[in-house]
Symmetry: C2
């Protein structure tokens, strides 16, 4: 597990092959199949391993009706941070439900926050999924920008975005008026002190919060 994470951290998830992992132990790929059924299972374990990291770093404050929003944001941000620390690893979450031991633990934590906030069961159950896919997608995208310029630095990323912005702004105004007009806000990592991730988080949270008052925000669900 640790060897696999080491490879991902250093070379990205595309470099993670059975042979490469085995090499880390100075052995052949076939040896790994004594411990793991196939690569998919290794991925599954990897996903659960990183969920364990998230759980370990969670401070564990008691969720209440007052602090649930802040707590939820913190937990989602923490998960995002852990994912981003391991480059590509977020891609392993695609098409996988983290129902290993650590994954369940993390789900449990999240649900406890959502229910403390007074969300209806149906909404709370679904919110976990929604936030999960959001955070994974965002982690992947962030890594994408970062890997475009391996030497990194926030400045370089801004520069890359700037180039795309220029391209969008140079589009024919008659065919793409809105794209041209919004090229600026579309290609900024942060604006007015709030970065993209927090903005999306806020949007989802406001949507969730609208379901808190029993009966008030009912009606046009469809």
């Amino acid at each position: 597990m640790e060897a696999a994470v080491r490879i991902i951290d250093a070379e990205g998830i595309d470099a993670l092959s059975m042979r490469r992992v085995a090499q880390e132990f100075g052995t052949g790929a076939a040896s790994l199949y004594a411990y793991v059924a196939n690569k998919d299972e290794l991925m599954e374990l990897l996903v659960d391993w990183v969920m364990g990291q998230v759980v370990d770093r969670w401070h564990g404050a008691e969720p209440t009706a007052e602090n649930w929003r802040e707590l939820l944001k913190e937990s989602v941000r923490l998960s995002r941070d852990v994912l981003v620390e391991h480059r590509d690893l977020a891609k392993a979450f695609i098409g996988r439900i983290p129902f290993g031991q650590n994954g369940l633990h993390a789900v449990e934590l999240q649900l406890s926050i959502l229910r403390a906030g007074g969300l209806p069961d149906r909404i709370a159950a679904y919110a976990g999924d929604l936030l999960g896919t959001y955070l994974v997608a965002e982690a992947i995208e962030e890594n994408m920008w970062r890997s475009r310029f391996p030497e990194a630095g926030a400045a370089e990323i801004g520069e890359a975005m700037g180039e795309i912005r220029d391209y969008l702004q140079a589009l024919p105004v008659d065919r793409f008026p809105n794209v041209v007009a919004l090229a600026g806000p579309m290609m900024y990592q942060e604006a007015e002190g709030i970065d993209r991730f927090d903005l999306g988080l806020e949007v989802i949270l406001r949507g969730l919060a609208s379901f808190v008052d029993t009966g008030a925000a009912q009606g046009d669900v469809r």
Copy 2:
């Protein structure tokens, strides 16, 4: 392009190899490199092709301050439907920004709806991204359930979910009280006539709508 889509529809995106595409023309893989720089470019074209399908099927009603929510829902649902029709294809969208000709067209449409709704530029610009990642993630997940039981049928999917639900409910209540309690709502495709996809859509839309009134919903963005 059409050959590639044919393969994906029949065998899934994992079966899409250069050799397999070439075989569709009765030739060798090397021949494709006269038309396409590499597989990544083929994927890029594929992504733009499917965006073209979405644009072609859009009815094109004029967005207004009254109908923007309904219109936005329709457009997101349409995109999801087109993606799901092509199995795995949604995976090709991961880590890619659809800025081809058709992609830009689709973005333009979406932005026009968002701005008609009176969303601030910054929110509108970001909402496109948010909805895009949401719909792609949801399409992938739906396909995952579907491919677990290739003979398909909504009943089989429900059965598969039922098994996981049973497993979750059998978990130790003292360690996972909330998971056990919410196992039911977590593992239902639809409840009370609203399916998962529409529910998530509604959550995001409410969150976005809360930014419409200039000044009203300001304040604690962070």
